[in-house]
């Protein structure tokens, strides 16, 4: 059994990296929202889930092309992000962080139930196809990489780099970093804190939407399992101490591999979840110790 497991490893590495790329996107959105608005968005997975089901509606049920579904998902993600920020977060300015977290839990329930009522509780295996289903053999190995898997990784890398570039080189990025560091001083420098915060929610939620659509070929998705992607995003983000985007991306890659490899050896369901929980505990216990080194955002 062990030998059989080992022979599976190269193929599982590919799956792990793809999964890691998706988690990275979700984690980037999460960190962006957390750093700029100070809100830990527990509804992040629910936003991803809802947008993904919109993409499913557009490109699988209505038969329109995959990219149209993706665009619809991104639009819905941005919309939900805007609504959450504008109507339920902005009025809570100055209130404890925990209150805002509980409000995002309210959103989780709302989005989760709404999606369940619209699309049902069944698990779907009908991926939103962005590229053809075929793949190619990795040179020198027997591992087949699907074009959709390759696309996922490329999209994840490009978006991660693009986020870093936006944060480094554009005015909006600089304002975001300024608000993240100190909203009061940012306001004194003439930055519209509200607008920047809203932008972070919209961009972050769009990231969640993309992550959700990209994960559809990999899993049987239902409203609940996609909502729970938030815990994977949290784990990855916590490895970057909820601050550093590069570390979050590395953490996401680690998490993707760590979740995939045990499946080559164990048949028990839930091993991946146990691994996630272990990593989460380690990240919380080790990285959040008092006096831990501060990290930069990007």
């Amino acid at each position: 059994m062990v030998l059989a497991g080992v022979s599976l490893l190269p193929g599982f590495t590919v799956i792990g990296i793809v999964l890691g790329g998706i988690y990275a996107l979700a984690a980037i959105g999460l960190v962006l929202i957390y750093r700029v608005s100070g809100v830990l968005n527990f509804a992040h997975g629910a936003v991803a889930m809802f947008s993904t089901f919109v993409a499913y509606q557009v490109s699988v049920k209505s038969g329109l092309p995959g990219w149209l579904g993706l665009i619809a998902a991104i639009a819905v993600g941005i919309g939900i992000g805007f609504i959450i920020e504008r109507f339920t977060m902005r009025p809570l300015t100055g209130r404890p962080a925990l209150t805002k977290v509980v409000v995002t839990i309210g959103w989780l329930l709302v989005l989760q139930t709404l999606a369940g009522r619209i699309w049902g509780q069944n698990a779907y295996h009908s991926p939103v196809r962005l590229v053809s289903k075929s793949g190619f053999r990795l040179i020198g190995t027997s591992v087949v990489v699907g074009y959709d898997q390759l696309t996922t990784v490329i999209v994840a890398v490009v978006l991660a780099l693009a986020t870093a570039a936006v944060l480094r080189f554009t005015t909006l990025g600089a304002s975001m970093r300024a608000v993240a560091d100190d909203p009061e001083s940012a306001r004194l420098w003439g930055i519209s804190v509200n607008r920047v915060t809203a932008a972070s929610w919209m961009v972050g939620s769009a990231m969640a939407a993309i992550a959700g659509v990209l994960i559809t070929p990999l899993i049987n998705f239902d409203t609940f399992s996609l909502t729970l992607v938030v815990i994977d995003a949290f784990t990855a983000a916590l490895i970057g101490r909820l601050t550093s985007l590069p570390y979050a991306v590395v953490g996401a890659g680690l998490l993707g591999l760590a979740q995939t490899y045990p499946r080559a050896f164990f048949n028990t369901s839930g091993v991946s979840e146990a691994v996630t929980f272990g990593l989460l505990l380690i990240a919380l216990a080790v990285l959040f110790r008092p006096g831990a080194r501060k990290l930069r955002m990007a």
Binding site: L98, T113, G270, L284
Partner: protein, 344 residues
Amino acid sequence: MTADARVVRWTAVGVGIALGVLIPAFLSNFLRSLASDAAIAGLIVLSLVVLTGLVGQISFCQYSFAAIGAFTVGSLVAGHHWEFWLALLVGVCFAAAVGVLVAIPALRLSGLFLAILTIGVALFFDRFLLAPGTWDSFSGGTSSWRPGRPSFFGIGLRGEYAFYLFVFGILLVACLLVWNLRTGKTGRVLRAVRESEVAASTVGLNLTAWKLTAFGISAALAGLAGGLSAVRVGSASAGSYDFLHSVIIAAIATVVGVGAITSAPVGGMFLLFVPEIMRAWTPFSTQWFPFVTGILLIFQLVYAPDGAVVDSERRIMRRLHPPAPPPTADDTATPERVLARTST
């Protein structure tokens, strides 16, 4: 509190208890079983009153603690033919122990990260520990445990009304214990910890021990609820103790307010009877219930941040008893006075 307000409060509590005993006597067996479930859910809300209301820690894994109670009772009673009471005791202690275990990493985490941790715990239970194949001698595997109803000092609890009175009594006792905890020294200490950990530690309080205690008590209450629920339903299956249940009960506890003990029965009734009301009198099915809860939660946090029950209670109290004048200059802060002030 003036004598007036106290009389009003205790009269209200007495009337509430009397109604709680009498009304189910006239209900159908189905509604009686719902009432039992409401009392059990009330225990879980009470566990959040301890954890969130007293210590200010949030938890999204109370149903995982309940699962420990339920599966301990299930496996010991149905699998090993233990006496229910002993199994319940073991289950409550086991839940408390796990609660303390969860609290250990929580000690160094602030509220936000603790919330993530509890979600991790809930999913760990859902997807791994209670999943078939992981620990079947505890979770029952693919078949669920079927523990029978116990008897209480020779009185059989098979009848729905008898069982309801039994769990209602347990809820009342638990509320009384938590009330005692709140008004006693422990309550003052925990509130001090909640308001300012630094200040609490400078007066020599052992934060670690108190937080662990609070977690232990809270998990024990949830475990008790789980054990009772297992014999109420007559089976224990993982689906009834999943993450979504924990989230919904946390949301309800927040909506009714974790600052008052009365929230426990109110929250329990909310969880069980609002879906029934929705089914009977609105076009929405019970499956919309989490949606309604979510909307209420969002609106309530924006407009009535302390919770509906606490808010209305405070409004009634203010009418009966206008707030005390602010302290004057000669009202020097002696330790006794500070403690007296924080306890009101």
